[in-house]
């Protein structure tokens, strides 16, 4: 009886195994196709960035037809990407520090302080998540002009922290408040018993515990400040204050002149972002999915 059962099931097993194999091939072909589609443009940047313009004559997009590493140096100096890089750092660092520090302070206050108007204040900040930049950009230009800030890095830094372009206080306060709400009261109480005042409870106990959340926020703020485009386009129009994003804009539109310098400049711009993402993937995805999954 049992022997017969095995004998009967054998061909069926083989069919099932073959079907499973076909299924696996189809699955990885599907996953691989989209992965390749994501990678190809990156490979194109990489290959073009190292082309030797003196020996290239044919199709400028032929993959890896020549290699010249000095392109990176040329882009940094001749192509002005060194200056663009520094201008971008000057904006990115204060934005990241500002967003993280202020979001921690205000998120903490909205989660754990007792004062009238607290919910209203939280609602007001979160409203900022729904205000598109385009409904600020025109008056903001004239406001900044009146403050004498046009063409000053502060014209991008301050609105970025406030949340006008990408990750700023509205998202940061939302995330950090949720983080502080999840912390047990006992910790704060224990610190109070040990003689901490409210400021000490925050700086010595709660803020250090919130560092995982803060680092997720920092990664988001870094990406958004590094890539920000419209703010510097509008408010930092001077040749000397261009960032990587607006500097690179000069080379867009499918132009094929000085292609290898453009590609090398692109590489200079995306290298820190890609590196950062690969290193801090977990924090990044945690920050991104924090609000959405729980609902």
């Amino acid at each position: 009886m049992t022997a017969g059962g095995i004998a009967v099931s054998r061909p069926a097993d083989r069919v099932r195994r073959r079907r499973n194999l076909a299924f696996a091939v189809a699955k990885y072909a599907f996953l691989g196709f989209w992965a390749l589609l994501c990678l190809l443009p990156m490979i194109l940047i990489f290959s073009t960035a190292f082309k030797d313009p003196t020996i290239e004559t044919g199709n400028p997009f032929q993959l890896f037809s020549s290699v010249r590493f000095e392109n990176l140096v040329d882009a940094w100096t001749l192509g002005n990407f060194g200056r663009y890089f520094m201008n971008t750092i000057v904006i990115m660092v204060p934005v990241v520090l500002g967003v993280v520090a202020l979001s921690m302070l205000t998120g903490y206050a909205l989660a754990r302080f007792a004062f009238p108007g607290r919910s209203l204040l939280f609602f007001g900040f979160v409203l900022g998540l729904m205000i598109p930049f385009f409904s600020l950009m025109i008056p903001l230009y004239y406001n900044l002009r009146d403050y004498g800030l046009l063409d000053n890095p502060l014209a991008v830094i301050l609105p970025s922290i406030a949340g006008a372009g990408g990750t700023g206080l509205p998202l940061g306060i939302f995330l950090m408040r949720a983080f502080f709400l999840d912390m047990p009261d006992e910790l704060a109480d224990a610190a109070r018993v040990d003689g901490c005042d409210e400021l000490g409870v925050f700086t010595k106990v709660m803020a250090p515990l919130a560092l995982p959340g803060a680092s997720a926020l920092a990664v988001l703020a870094f990406m958004s400040a590094w890539n920000t485009f419209l703010l510097p386009l509008l408010y930092l129009s001077g040749e000397d204050s261009r960032t990587l994003a607006t500097g690179l804009l000069l080379f867009t539109g499918g132009r094929t002149q000085e292609l290898e310098l453009t590609a090398a400049g692109t590489l200079i711009m995306i290298a820190p972002v890609v590196l950062f993402f690969l290193l801090f993937q977990r924090q990044f995805i945690r920050g991104l999915t924090a609000g959405a999954v729980k609902g």
Partner: protein, 316 residues
């Protein structure tokens, strides 16, 4: 020793008497401390978000070239002019096309990839990282690279078409009014579907696997399992992604500006690009602000509607 016991029991008592995060029954924090923690954020937020937002509302009711000392109040004249402005309607309809295709395509691709990854595939985190790479790229870079791909002479797309004998199809994809919008949209979809993969995968990972097994035991086929187990399980993520992409579609600017500047003609013009042009190239600050207000109103209405929808889904 006794102190810490007392504090623990006090904490426990407090937890019973009030919900976490609720302030009732606790002594009010001193205003000095509140000002220290909230003041700087509030100052920046008001100065660089609230004030300009109100400014847009005011400007949209005025005629102003950006330089004259006085803004002339004109009531709703800017909005009335919008109704008869063909270029504005063209921009709005481009935004609608963008909202439909630019939302449906990345969600469909992202959902399919997330489900395949979730149902068991090797290198899951590797695939996820690769799909996410385009999402982190600066828009300028996306526009630049896709400009190369669409290059009429040497572009990868035309070269590939010629290689398979479809020479007739090759063209200047961004220069042809018939294809420009779709060409830009494809670049945008390329740069957003990875976001959908990551979000949906996070949602799927929160689903109780016993539910899926139970459905299988009960004889539910793949479609029924998707429809009645997976989809409800990821509903919060789904509405979140839908809200972000749909609302974003009505304020799309960067990628269009980088790739076509709204051209050829008005073929790829969007409301945001049109507002930019009106305000900063032609110095119609009032008219541009009216367009900005339309964007803000559409965004707010959509966001609130989708959030309400989500709330209703959760209580049911």
């Amino acid at each position: 020793m006794t102190g810490s016991v007392a504090s623990v029991s006090a904490g426990a008592f407090e937890r019973i008497t009030r919900r976490r995060g609720r302030v009732r029954g606790r002594r009010q924090t001193s205003w000095a401390l509140v000002a220290l923690f909230v003041g700087p954020s509030l100052a920046l937020y008001v100065l660089f978000m609230i004030v300009p937002f109100i400014g847009t509302l005011q400007l949209s009711l005025s005629a102003w070239d950006g330089f004259a000392p006085e803004k002339t109040p004109v009531g709703l004249a800017n909005y009335q002019a919008l109704l008869g402005d063909e270029d504005f309607w063209r921009a709005l309809s481009n935004n609608v096309v963008w909202a439909v295709i630019g939302t449906a395509a990345p969600i469909a691709i992202g959902l399919a990839l997330a489900i395949v990854l979730w149902s068991g595939a090797g290198f899951r985190t590797g695939f996820r990282a690769i799909y996410f790479l385009p999402v982190i790229l600066p828009v300028v870079v996306i526009g630049l690279v896709w400009g190369w791909i669409y290059n009429p002479l040497f572009g990868v797309l035309n070269t590939a078409l010629e290689a398979v004998g479809l020479d007739d199809w090759s063209r200047g994809w961004l220069g042809d009014p018939d294809t420009a919008l779709v060409a830009v949209l494809i670049a945008a979809i390329w740069s957003t579907f990875g976001f959908c993969v990551v979000m949906f995968l996070a949602g799927l990972q929160g689903i109780d696997l016993n539910l899926v097994d139970a459905a299988k035991v009960d004889g539910a086929n793949a479609w029924q399992r998707f429809r009645h187990v997976l989809l409800p399980g990821i509903a919060p993520v789904f509405t979140f992604v839908l809200t972000i992409t749909l609302v974003g579609a009505f304020s799309v600017f960067d990628i269009v500006y980088v790739m076509t500047r709204g051209g050829p003609g008005t073929a790829t013009e969007t409301m945001a690009g049109y507002a930019y042009k009106m305000a900063f190239n032609r110095n119609f600050a009032g008219y541009g602000s009216a367009i900005s207000m339309v964007i803000a109103i559409i965004s707010l209405v959509l966001a609130v509607a989708l959030l309400r929808f989500r709330e209703r889904g959760r209580t049911r």
